[in-house]
């Protein structure tokens, strides 16, 4: 009976036995590393239906974050402003602009503008904006320099590890309570020590146990 396979195929099972675990480990590592929020989410910059530029409005014009995202101090969710907020100014400014077509339509008919969500946490994680704003975490700390973004993009992964890094050592992220919306406030040049701030009434104690966020 002649040999069907050439002699070198005798080594194939040995090769598979050596390579398969390595390949498996490599696959698991690459998913753990490159499928983490740091790679999949950071830099996410979806195109919005209305070309609203934060750089123009929050940066050059200097509108405070809370003028539009007015629920951030009272509620968990920092709401996108309704079209009526936009029309506060745009009833008088750029009233014929084609780029504001959707905004004017929304204000007139009540039909929602289909904004694309950029920062999103999964439903099993609880996050409350008001507690972070009240304790003195700046907007730019988590969302980056939004006042320099023409299109909003995600600067931080918002992953559990990233949140815990701060929750375990909150001091570097804190700033004076009146500087929360000041995008230009720079922690390295300001030398701020929350322990010595007279305006703070309570010690900052963020939860690091599981049920702090997984409620």
């Amino acid at each position: 009976m002649p040999a069907i396979f050439p002699r070198w195929t005798n080594n194939v099972p040995i090769a598979i036995g050596l390579l398969a675990p390595l390949l498996g480990a490599g696959l698991i590592f690459s998913v753990w590393y490159w499928f983490s929020p740091m790679y999949t989410d950071v830099g996410y910059r979806p195109e919005q239906p209305v070309p609203y530029s934060h750089k123009l409005h929050a940066g050059e014009l200097g509108i405070d974050c809370r003028y539009c995202h007015n629920t951030v101090e009272q509620a968990a969710h920092a709401a996108i402003p309704p079209a009526a907020t936009c029309m506060n100014c745009h009833d008088l400014v750029k009233t014929e602009s084609k780029r504001l077509e959707l905004v004017r339509n929304s204000d007139k008919t009540g039909e929602a503008i289909p904004w694309v969500r950029v920062h999103q946490l999964p439903d099993y994680a609880f996050f409350n904006h008001s507690s972070h704003v009240a304790v003195g975490v700046g907007c730019a700390t988590c969302h980056g320099r939004v006042d320099q973004m023409v299109v909003v993009e995600m600067k931080n992964p918002l992953s559990m590890g990233w949140c815990l890094d701060c929750h375990r050592d909150p001091k570097p992220a804190l700033r004076p309570l009146d500087q929360v919306t000041n995008m230009a406030w720079d922690a390295s040049t300001m030398q701020y020590d929350p322990d010595r701030d007279a305006n703070r009434k309570r010690k900052v104690n963020p939860p690091t146990h599981c049920s702090g966020c997984h409620r």
Binding site: Q74, H77, P82, A112, I113, W115, R117
Partner: protein, 217 residues
């Protein structure tokens, strides 16, 4: 020369040997005989013109170019269809890096309403001959849960089964969506907000003129 068969085939070692052991009739044997389908015996062409019965005159056998110049082999057709379906499925539903989620905000948000935070309204519901004071929890303008109003002297914070169930009355599909008028004591007829507003204005001006005499709600 030996013409032993290994695995059902004749292996030849020289062209001379091949001439001895092979014949062209056997080599050019077509699986489907003669006729249009013989033009591509194994590929399985889509027969554009129609099926001709097998066993026709061999001299009338047509080539692929005669039957259907644009014919595509069945295999290629299915592979293209399958690939496009798989590609569409991968890119539109699964295996995408980040799905698009929308934020749909009001055109004009009601005052004091914060999306995602419940608002509590004090209300009351009539069950039979009694009235129960309620506190209704409303999520984004949609009532979701009814609790008793502790400040109500009658119920003192308790609710009956019917009061709890009355939250569904608001989602009753039979509930009218347009103003209904039965002016003049006639049949109730659907109306619209414009006429409703006009009728109410008339009523209000008449009541203002007479100081509210004869007006009942």
């Amino acid at each position: 020369m030996s013409t032993e068969k290994y695995y059902g085939r004749d292996y030849w070692r020289s062209l001379a040997q091949r001439e001895l052991s092979h014949d062209d009739a056997a080599d050019s044997w077509s699986e489907f005989g003669t006729g249009p389908s013989a033009a591509a015996p194994r590929a399985g062409l889509l027969n554009v013109i129609g099926n001709k019965p097998a066993g026709d005159d061999p001299e009338e056998s047509l080539s692929l170019a005669d039957i259907a110049p644009d014919a595509v082999s069945r295999r290629r057709f299915f592979s293209v269809v399958g690939a496009s379906a798989a590609f569409a499925g991968v890119t539109t539903t699964g295996c995408i890096r980040k799905e698009r989620e929308n934020i749909l905000e009001f055109g004009s948000r009601p005052e004091d309403m914060i999306p995602g935070r419940a608002m509590m309204y004090a209300s009351a519901v009539q069950i039979g001959a009694t009235v129960e004071g309620l506190v209704v929890e409303s999520q984004d303008g949609r009532p979701t849960k009814i609790e008793g109003n502790a400040k109500h002297s009658g119920s003192q914070g308790a609710t009956s089964v019917w009061a709890q169930a009355s939250v569904l009355d608001i989602y009753d599909p039979e509930r009218t969506r347009v103003p209904v008028t039965s002016e003049g004591g006639g049949e109730p007829a659907s109306s619209d907000m414009g006429s409703a507003r006009a009728a109410l204005t008339k009523l209000v001006t008449a009541a203002a003129a007479s100081g509210g005499e004869g007006l009942g709600l």
